[in-house]
Symmetry: C2
């Protein structure tokens, strides 16, 4: 549509971002060029630095620029509790919303036999090694509440049992602010069967 290669390329590159289509890319490009060139240069640098330096923590596999991430290296955190999540984004979400002060283990996926992802593909031997090497008391299973997430949690619970480690699963039920009338059957069923003393 435009015959400006530099603008054309910026629009195409912005569409690499998830959830960004033609119109959003146009809005973003024009905003940066017309009103926020320092922001454009800052984002350019941040992307280059992140793409070049960030890898996975050799212990918990979350995103980090170091060999061992800051959380794993933080001696003030409780090494006796490992929270297992599917993605680095889950780590950020939990850190942002809770005061959890234990360690994490990022699976970078979930068990999904139909897609050919078994315990080996998911590198679960690394988590098993941690259960063996580290003074773990509790394994918090914080995989998603999807079918694959549940399968993964079940597998991890058996692994924890083999090592005499207590396994807990994050609670399922009514989300904060949720209205019963509009909940799906699965959520409501979990909420009722998981009821607690009041």
């Amino acid at each position: 549509m435009t015959t400006e290669p530099a603008l054309e390329e910026l629009l195409a590159a912005l569409r690499c971002l998830p959830g960004v289509g033609t119109k959003s890319a146009r809005r973003m490009a024009l905003h940066l060029l017309e009103r926020d060139r320092p922001g454009a240069r800052r984002l350019s640098r941040a992307l280059a630095v992140a793409a070049d330096t960030i890898g996975h923590c050799s212990r918990c596999r979350t995103l980090t620029a170091a060999t061992i991430c800051a959380r794993c290296a933080d001696a003030s955190r409780d090494a006796g509790v490992i929270c297992v999540v599917e993605t680095p984004g889950d780590v950020l979400a939990i850190e942002g919303a809770t005061d959890f002060r234990g360690l994490f283990h990022v699976l970078l996926g979930r068990l999904s036999p139909l897609d050919g992802i078994g315990p080996a593909e998911l590198g679960l031997d690394r988590l098993e090694q941690r259960l063996h090497d580290e003074p773990v008391r509790e394994l918090i299973l914080a995989t998603n509440a999807s079918v694959e997430g549940e399968v993964t949690a079940h597998y991890l619970a058996e692994m924890a049992a083999r090592h005499g480690v207590r396994a807990t699963r994050i609670a399922q039920g009514v989300p904060a602010g949720g209205e019963l009338e509009y909940l799906d059957a699965g959520t409501l069923s979990h909420a009722l069967s998981g009821r607690r003393e009041y």
Copy 2:
């Protein structure tokens, strides 16, 4: 929330984009780092190149890396018709949706006396100069259908009349797919008063 400076900076830089908040920034950063590092490097380069090279066309003021944009330099376009728009985004929108083959003039704003933006601040003398220098037959007023856009169109129509140039205004009425029942009163009123032979 995280203690990774490179990731932290990327998340903050992504929030410079319009419409991107904490969660979108997280989703974008993780997508780029986990699944599309080439995309991250490409976007980094595109942003740097665009921020460093793209300026405004000295003739029509749209975004371009050259002194004169490709549209103004294209001799096959009809120099007798100038379409006046508020922003470079409007140029992209019109080029993308129509087969308009005339030239453009980008105001980079609109008349807004309350904000202290008069004809001088908007650089309307440049457009007047074009009407004087170029073989313009028709000035298409494609400013927004907002109050300021209408005021601007009115002012430009008087300017065109002074130069003996025909001024036309893009049509206002029912948008494609629009249902009369849900239209606002202003749109419906414009659609009725602007009715045409069928």
